[in-house]
């Protein structure tokens, strides 16, 4: 019964709701998304709320009172719904109008890195509507950009027919608007790395996740009150190819448009463990800065676990929704 409900809900979101978003003014879509996010917050089972609050305590310590934690949780679900609206808006014919409302800073860093001819690793995070960067860059005239996405295939716990329909919609919007390549199997991690390298050597901007839950080699770095376990992949790719990493963050403004920030480039000169760790620490510090300012933007609050302790400090692992069929 629960499964049928999930199928029904997904069909409702990806068909009538998507059509509405494609027809209505942008702000009405965001109002609907806010309503759905608030409903989701209200009906959230207590054990899920408590898990979310315990993760906030783990990361922030005892800085937040109960009301602040509730506010972050509610905003988290509203932001989640708004990102679905963003995706559907990107699928609209007039999506360029939506991209025109975005503001930007640090674009000079992109030009500076690309002028070296070694490509650029566009380091994104599970923060805000991060996948907006490739469509936005294309809109700004950067034709050599490619996004990479690892998507669950098929969607867990969903009827295969429904799963195929939903994934087809998501894939087609991402491919059409952001030149995305989509990966969905374990072996793909190798092909993803090869595809990233091959585009870098053609001086492309390629996307990579700085706080991904997937990877083969990890390091632990300081993050608020914990040690965060994050993949070394982007730093290693930078060291092997000579391409600089440019961390980028997408922040939702009060008017629901996005502010895109490109941070100072990070170049990795060698593959020594300490060098790689320092590079990762540098961009995780930037993530920490933005998470402290916009906590509801970070997507991992309900997907983390303590793996162990390092010098008495909790070592936190970020958890994937298990997209790979092993």
């Amino acid at each position: 019964m629960k499964l049928y409900f999930k199928d029904f809900l997904l069909l409702l979101i990806y068909f009538p709701y998507r059509w509405l978003v494609q027809a209505l003014p942008f702000q009405i879509s965001y109002s609907m998304a806010t309503l759905f996010g608030n409903i989701q917050y209200q009906v959230l089972p207590p054990h899920q709320k408590n898990r979310f609050f315990s993760h906030l305590d783990l990361i922030f310590g005892d800085k937040l009172d109960t009301q602040e934690k509730k506010t972050i949780l509610r905003h988290f679900y509203v932001e989640k719904q708004k990102k679905i609206a963003d995706l559907f808006i990107l699928g609209r014919k007039d999506y360029e109008n939506y991209l025109q409302t975005c503001s930007i800073e640090g674009l000079d860093y992109v030009d500076q890195v690309l002028s070296q001819g070694k490509g650029m690793i566009g380091l994104n995070f599970h923060f805000g509507f991060a996948h907006l960067i490739p469509p936005f860059a294309l809109h700004k005239g950067y034709k050599k950009i490619i996004g990479f996405l690892v998507l669950q295939s098929p969607i867990k716990g969903v009827n295969p027919w429904v799963s195929r329909r939903i994934l087809h919609i998501k894939h087609s919007i991402w491919k059409e608007r952001g030149n995305f390549q989509i990966f969905s199997s374990l072996k793909s991690l190798t092909y993803l790395a090869i595809a990233q390298y091959q585009h870098l050597r053609q001086n492309y901007i390629v996307s990579a996740a700085g706080d991904g839950a997937l990877g083969e080699k990890f390091t632990s770095v300081d993050f608020f009150n914990v040690k965060l376990k994050v993949p070394l992949g982007p730093a290693l790719l930078s060291a092997k190819t000579g391409a600089a990493m440019v961390p980028n963050f997408v922040i939702r403004r009060k008017d629901n448009a996005h502010h895109i920030i490109f941070e100072e480039p990070i170049q990795v000169d060698n593959e020594e463990e300490e060098t790689l760790k320092m590079a990762v620490q540098r961009y995780i510090q930037r993530l920490e800065h933005y998470v402290s300012r916009y906590p509801a933007h970070w997507g991992y609050w309900n997907r983390m676990e303590i793996e162990g302790f390092e010098g008495g400090i909790p070592l936190v692992r970020l958890v994937t929704r298990k997209p790979f069929e092993t």
């Binding site: 190798t190 090869i194 595809a195 083969e216 290693l236 790719l237 092997k240 190819t241």
Partner: protein, 95 residues
């Protein structure tokens, strides 16, 4: 090694030996002693995704060819890799 591009009749054994030398710098040298054409890259040598990238960088430079990620999906063993290098050399897919 750069003569490979001109000499398209280079033997598989020669490519294999060159490959063994190249891989010695990337992978565990001990594994190279027991390397055969049947050795599986991921399962036997434990090659990770970014090792593959490094391997491609080294191979492309040494053999003056370009390897494509689509072609690489067919590569599972050392022999597959040798065949791919030979194919790319014959087709002249380099810069």
């Amino acid at each position: 090694m750069s003569s490979l591009k001109q000499n398209q009749t280079l033997l598989k054994e020669e490519v294999f030996e060159n490959l063994r030398t190249l891989l010695r710098n990337i992978l565990n040298p001990e594994d190279m002693e027991s390397l055969t054409l049947d050795t599986r890259l991921q399962e036997d040598l434990g090659i990770k995704s970014l090792d593959t990238v490094e391997m491609i960088i080294v191979i492309e430079k040494a053999f003056s060819i370009r390897l494509d990620s689509v072609d690489f999906t067919k590569v599972s063993t050392v022999e597959d890799l040798v065949n791919l290098i030979l194919d790319q050399s014959r087709n002249g897919r380099g810069d």
